[in-house]
Structure formats: C-alpha cells, structure tokens
C-alpha cells in the first residue's frame, strides 16, 4: 500500500514539472511583461531596473526553477489585467468554484446512481425508456446551451430562480459560502444543475450498463437461489460490483467538472476561478493563465491519486499483494 502511494506520487511529479515548464514558457515567450508594466512613458534605467527586479536577465532554466519554487509557495506574480497578486485573486474565487463543483458532483451522483440502478433493473419499463431518451439529450446538449435554456425557463419565463452571481454570501476570513443563506442556495441551483447534468447522464448510463452486466452473472443467480431479498441482491451484491468503473469515471469527471465550470461560470456570471480564467484568456493575462494551469494540473494529479486509492477501498481483489 505504502509503496503503491509512493510510486503514484513519483509518477505525478514529472507531470507537474512539465506543466510548470509549459506555464513558465508562456511567461517567458508570450508578450513582454516589462513593456506591459511600464506603460508608454519610461526611461532606459527604469526598464533595466524592472528587468532585474523581475529576474528576466537570468538564464531560462534558472528562471524556470525560480518560477516553480515560487509556485510551490503559492506565488504566481501579479495579474497584468487587475494589477493584484494572482494568488489573492485565485484564493478569493476558489470557494465559489469549489462549492459549485461540489454541489454539481453531489447532484450528479445522487440522481445519476439511483436512476442508473432503476433503469438497469426495470430496463423494459416505460419510465426507463423515458429516462434513457432524456439522458441521450443530456449528453448531446452543449453545457452552455443547457445553461441558457435553464435561464430562459426558470429566470425569464417563470422568474423563480436567479440567473447570475452567487446571491447572498456569508464571508469568513478565508472562505465565503453560499450554503448558509436561502439566496445563496437558490443561486446555486441552476449553475449546479447545468454543470452536473452531463456527469449525471454519464453516471446513469454507466451504472445501467454495469448493472445489466452484473445482474446476468452467476453469483447473482446464486444469491437468488439462496433466497436473499431483492433489495439485498440489487444493492448489496449488484450495485456494489458496479462501483469500480463508476468511481473511475466519476473521479476523472471531477476534472471535467472543473474544466466545464469555466463555461458554466461564464453563462451564469458565477464569480469563480473559471470566469477569471476566461477573462484572462480574452486579454492574454499570462500570470493568471499560468497559475490556473499549474493549479489545475496539481488538482488533476491529486484526483487521479485519490481515485486509485478508492479502488483499494472498494475492490478487495486489488488488495492482494503481488
């Protein structure tokens, strides 16, 4: 177990280093921060001083090492667009994105798994077919269009839910949450559904396919022969054995959720990191882009690690010492 974790972590290090190199290369070769920061009116002495201050007179790999070192300490420089430390900007917006992603994942799992189990068990029922058609539409609709449709129906026509922002937010020193107020919760519904819908349909189809597979297997027949109740068979035996692929996909989809939160946050003007990233891409704000990239890659590596560890928890066959 310990060796497994160590080898996984060691595999992850080059990924982060490569992504860091790309992020740094963006810094080094895209645009000229000196001219951007100095504006139009400056003397040669000022320019040289700034070059020295930013460390741009040193060799490439020294600068890269410094960049990674600073990144390790959570320092990514200053945003060209907002003239504030990137770390502060990201830290301010992280709660919004994480709360959104968390709610969307919980929504996807809580609705997707039961629907998958239901359509797997009663696969010929009329309601199952309706669910399947619904899921096909869910997979084909692009995220931003789902958001627009939801806004049109619930905010413009029915006027029951807010269409942008986080609503009322309770602020703590390092965190701001929308979970504690009615306004905040209401503002969370549409974005979370938009973001979670694709994952939900994916999980539902996956659970259904796995259930169909498992329900045909011998140990289910044997469990029936032993006279176990339907409930125990469906949930204790069948569902449990579908969980490994579901955890893989759901885990890897957390990455997808973070990426698509960029789109969802733009549609709903949700003040999270994704919106910050899009605004930065539009004006080529390299420090923010680089920081976001490094952060996302670390996050993805962590998610992959956790997914691998969850296998161990769920599937006893993997615990056999090789």
């Amino acid at each position: 177990m310990f060796a497994f974790i160590v080898s996984r972590v060691l595999q992850a290090v080059p990924v982060v280093l490569v992504v860091g190199l790309i992020a740094y290369a963006m810094f080094a070769f895209v645009g000229d921060p000196v001219t951007i920061m100095l504006g139009t009116d400056y003397t040669e002495a000022q320019r040289v001083a700034l070059v020295k201050q930013l460390g741009l007179d040193q060799p490439f790999f020294v600068q890269y090492a410094k960049f990674m070192w600073a990144a390790l300490h959570g320092e990514f420089g200053i945003s060209y667009r907002l003239a504030r430390p990137v770390t502060d900007l990201l830290a301010e917006r992280m709660p919004a994105t994480l709360e959104l992603a968390l709610t969307a994942s919980v929504f996807a799992l809580l609705i997707g798994v039961p629907m998958g189990v239901y359509t797997g068990i009663y696969r010929t029922a009329f309601s199952s077919r309706v669910f399947m058609i619904f899921s096909l539409i869910g997979v084909s609709l692009p995220t931003f269009l789902i958001g627009i449709l939801l806004i049109l129906v619930f905010s413009v026509w029915l006027q029951v839910l807010p269409s942008f922002g986080r609503g009322d937010v309770v602020r703590f020193p390092h965190w701001s949450t929308g979970f504690l107020t009615t306004g905040g919760l209401k503002a969370l519904i549409l974005p979370a559904v938009t973001l979670g819908l694709f994952q939900m349909t994916l999980i539902m189809r996956l659970v259904r396919a796995e259930m169909l597979e498992v329900l045909r297997s011998d140990y289910i027949k044997f469990a029936r022969a032993r006279g176990l109740g339907t409930r125990a068979i469906n949930f204790g035996h069948a569902l449990r054995n579908t969980l490994v692929p579901v955890i893989t996909i759901a885990g890897l989809q957390i990455g997808g959720i973070i990426a698509f939160s960029i789109v969802t946050e733009t549609v709903f003007q949700w003040p999270g990191m994704g919106l910050l990233f899009v605004q930065s891409v539009q004006v080529a704000d390299v420090p923010v882009m680089a920081a976001y990239l490094v952060m996302i890659s670390v996050l993805f590596v962590l998610i992959n690690l956790v997914v691998d560890l969850l296998y161990y928890a769920v599937d006893p066959r993997l615990r056999v010492v090789r």
Partner: protein
Amino acid sequence: MSAIARWLDSDVAYSFRRSPVALMAALVLAIILAGAVLAPWIAPHNPLDLASLNLMDSRIPPVWDAEGQRSFPLGTDDQGRDILSGIMYGVRISLVIGVASVIFAIVAGIAVGLLAGYAGGVLDAVLMRVADIQLTFPAILIALLVDGVVTAALPQEMHERLKTQVLIFSIGISFWPQFARTVRGSTLVERGREYVMAARVIGLSSGRIMLTHILPNVLGPVFVIGTLTLGLAILSEATLSFLGVGLPPSSPSVGTLIRIGNDFLFSGEWWMTIFPGLTLVLLVLSINLLGDWLRDALNPKLR
C-alpha cells in the same frame, strides 16, 4: 459508375439502409449541409452585407408570432440581421473550422502514431507519455489555453485576420492524442506482419514503409474516431466562440450567434439564441449518431 454500384451493394450500404436512426441522422445532416453550402444562393438575406441591414428590422420575432414578418422566418437580431440567414452562414463557418481542425488532428495524430509505433523505444515512450498527459486534461481546456497563448503571442494587428487559423490550430491540437494512440496501437500490430517484413527485405526506406504500406492498413478506425471527433470539434468551436475567445461578431459562427443572442435573453427575445442553439444540437447529434452507426457497421464482431 461501377464504383457507386459496388458501394450500394456493400455491407455498409446495406446496414445503412436498414438503420432508421442512421437514415434520419443523414437526412437531418443533409438538410443542414445543403442550407450551409447553398447559403449564398438560397438564404433570404446576406447577414455579412452591412449595407442591406436596416435597424428598423431589428428584434422582429419569428413569423408565427403576431408581430412576425414573412421576410424574416425566424426573426431578426438586434442589428436587424435575419436569424435564418445568419444560421445558414454560421453553420458554414462552424463546419469549416470543425472539419479543418479534425483534419489537423488526424494528420498530427497519424504522424505521431506512426512514428511512435514504428520506431518504438525512447521516442515511443516520450510521445505516448505526452499524449497521456494531455489526455488527462479535458480537450476544451487545452483548446482554450492554446488559443489564449497563441493570441497573446501574435501581434495585435494579426488577431482578426488569423483568428480562424488560430481556432483551427487550438481545437486540432486538443484532439490529436486520441488519433495518435489508435494509430500507434494498429502500427504496433502491423509492424510485425509479413508484408512489412517483405518491404523491409526489399530495402524500402522506413518512411516509405510507414506511408505506403502501414498507413493504408491503420486508417479504418481513424475515420470512425474522426467522425465522432467532428461533433466534439464543432462543439468546441461553439463553446470557444460563446466564451468570447472564438470568432468575432463580424464573421459569426453558430457559437457566436448564440453568444450574441444570449445578451437579449432577458428582454424576452429568445429566438436569437434558441434557433442557433437548436441547429447546433441537431448538427452535432446527427454527426454523432452517424459516427456511432459507422463504428458499429465497420465492426466485424457486430455483424
């Protein structure tokens, strides 16, 4: 002529005729394609011709609404552009970018896959590791990032002019690993076959063996993945344009139209968004269904 007759007689054509879903999807796709290709001749208006725009025509609802007008079947946007014509021209742009970026991804993927599979060793390990790393990130994120970097690297005055090429490059780059992995896998298998051995014995160069002997034998799955990727590429373009980093409103793709319409959602002018959105969904759905069908039809195990 005989080629067409032979195709009509083939297994693939038979399974096509027998699949109602594939027929439906092909029909929808054909209608959208016809509208896009023939747009300059059959579109009621030319949305790119600024001189023909009249602000008096702005924000007209679709024709079945009481305030609708016959000459604007699906209504108009805030500038008085006809929505239907806008969609027809927009689909052209979306399709061109989608197809071009998939071709870019296919060419890059084949090159890397052939090289990695045929050469093996360190080159293979490095190239496939890069592909693995990229695959852990969602394609849309890669496309967004590449787009941002390239735009930042280009001088200001080239942005507008090269935006289409930048988009094709960004989207193409985000999809190459799938192709590279597939081609590499098949190349590894083909490399061990007798005909490759024979070609080597005759003394053909590695490049020639890869291109004229192995390549034709690894193309099959590439087409299937290519079809399915086309749907994703069109969605990527629409998403990028919607996010405001894609095409500018001066040459609107379907995604740009949705973005423009989105600003008027709250004043009740839903048709500006919904019709381009519906077109996008139908286009992508029909391409995906055709791709699914093609995958099953070409899979000998399912016959």
